[in-house]
C-alpha cells in the first residue's frame, strides 16, 4: 500500500528496512569522523553570515559561539529551580491536589488524614517540594561542525529518590528542539561542496518523578 503523499524519505515508508528512532533522552554524543577535511574552514565560521542564516531561530539562552562564562564558573552545571511562595513555580501536580483523601482497603476499612485544611495544605506543599524534579542546565561544546558550538543542555537532578516510599527517580518528561547549523559534506565526499544545513537538537525542558 503506497500512500498518496508518497514521501520516499518517510521512515514509515521503509518499515522493516530502516532502523527506528526513539524519543528517549538524553541522547549519547554523536560520533564524529575524525578526518579534518570534513571540518569548516575559518571563512565558513563568519559570525555575521551564520547568524543571518539562522535568523530568528538563534536563541541566545540556549546557544553561544564562544565558551560561555557560565561554563567557566559552573562547569558542572546549574540547578534551575524557581520557587514561588515556598513551592515550585508552575502548575500543581494532580497527585498533590488529590493528596489527603480517605484511604480505603476493601469495603469497610477507611483511614483519614485527620488534620485541618491549613495543615493539609502545608503537607501538600512539603510533598510537592519533596517530589519536585528540578532541571540542571550545563553548557556543552558540540565541536566545530556545529554552529553555534556551545549549547545549554538540560538534564534531570539525580540525587535522592523523589518518591515516598523511595524507589522512583527524576527522569525526562518533556523536551523541545533548538535550531543549529551543521557543516555537512554531501555523501561525505570532500570533493563535493560542503555547506551549512539547519538541524534540530533536542533539549530536555522538564523532568518528572517516575519508576
Amino acid at each position: 500500500h503506497i500512500p498518496d503523499n508518497d514521501n520516499i524519505n518517510d521512515i514509515n515508508f521503509h518499515t522493516g528496512s530502516r532502523p527506528s528512532p526513539s524519543d528517549e533522552l538524553p541522547i549519547p554524543p554523536l560520533h564524529e569522523n575524525p578526518d579534518r577535511a570534513f571540518d569548516p574552514s575559518p571563512q565558513d565560521l563568519d559570525y555575521k553570515a551564520n547568524r543571518k542564516m539562522l535568523g530568528k531561530k538563534f536563541d541566545r539562552n540556549f546557544m553561544q559561539v564562544v565558551k560561555p562564562l557560565e561554563h567557566i564558573f559552573h562547569p558542572d552545571g546549574m540547578l534551575n529551580i524557581r520557587f514561588r511562595k515556598g513551592r515550585p513555580k508552575g502548575r500543581r501536580p494532580e497527585f498533590i491536589k488529590d493528596f489527603g483523601h480517605k484511604i480505603s482497603f476493601g469495603d469497610d476499612i477507611v483511614k483519614k488524614l485527620g488534620v485541618d485544611k491549613r495543615t493539609k495544605k502545608l503537607m501538600q506543599k512539603y510533598l510537592w517540594n519533596y517530589t519536585y524534579c528540578p532541571l540542571i542546565y550545563k553548557w556543552k561544546d558540540l565541536g566545530i561542525r556545529f554552529w553555534p558550538r556551545w549549547i545549554k543542555e538540560g538534564s534531570c537532578y539525580k540525587g535522592r529518590s523523589c518518591s515516598i516510599p523511595p524507589g522512583m527517580q527524576c527522569k525526562t518528561k518533556s523536551s523541545k528542539p533548538i535550531t543549529l547549523l551543521r557543516w555537512h559534506c554531501k555523501d561525505w565526499n570532500t570533493d563535493r561542496k560542503c555547506s551549512w544545513i539547519e538541524i534540530q537538537y533536542p533539549i530536555i525542558t522538564e523532568c518528572a518523578c517516575s519508576c
Binding site: N9, I11, N12, R18, S22, I27, P28, R182, H184, W188
Partner: protein
C-alpha cells in the same frame, strides 16, 4: 527433507564458539547517505558461532537455551542447537531527515551489539 538435514548436519569441522565479531557499517554502502547526515558509519558488531554442550558461563544462555542444547545433543533431529544472538545492545545517535524532512538528532536504540550469547 534433504535441505533440512543439510542445514542440521554440516561437515564435521572445527567451529568457533558463539562470539561477537566486528562489522563496520558504512551508510554509503547501504544507500543510506541520502537520509542519514551523520555519522557516516559505525561499528555495529554481530554475533556468530556455535552453541554446543556444555555452554560456557559467559554465553549468558537462557534456561530455554540450556534445555535446547541438551535436547539437540540427545536427538539432533528434534531441534537444532540454540542460536548465537545479541544478549545486550547499545544505542547510537544519528542526525537524519525525519518524516517532515527536518534534520533531527535522535537516539536509535539497539544498534550496537555489546555482548553475544546462546538464545
Amino acid at each position: 527433507t534433504p535441505a533440512y538435514r543439510y542445514a542440521r548436519y554440516p561437515r564435521r569441522i572445527r567451529r568457533w564458539p558463539c562470539q561477537r565479531k566486528q562489522m563496520f557499517v558504512k551508510f554509503k554502502d547501504l544507500g543510506w547517505q541520502s537520509w542519514i547526515i551523520a555519522p557516516d558509519g559505525f561499528q555495529a558488531f554481530y554475533c556468530e558461532g556455535e552453541c554446543q554442550f556444555p555452554l560456557a558461563a559467559h554465553m549468558n544462555a537462557t534456561n530455554h537455551a540450556i534445555v535446547q542444547t541438551l535436547v539437540h545433543l540427545m536427538n539432533p533431529k528434534q531441534a537444532p542447537s540454540p542460536g548465537c544472538a545479541p544478549t545486550k545492545l547499545g544505542a547510537q545517535s544519528v542526525l537524519y531527515f525525519d518524516d517532515n524532512l527536518n534534520v533531527v538528532l535522535q537516539k536509535f536504540p539497539m544498534m550496537i551489539v555489546k555482548s553475544c550469547g546462546c538464545h
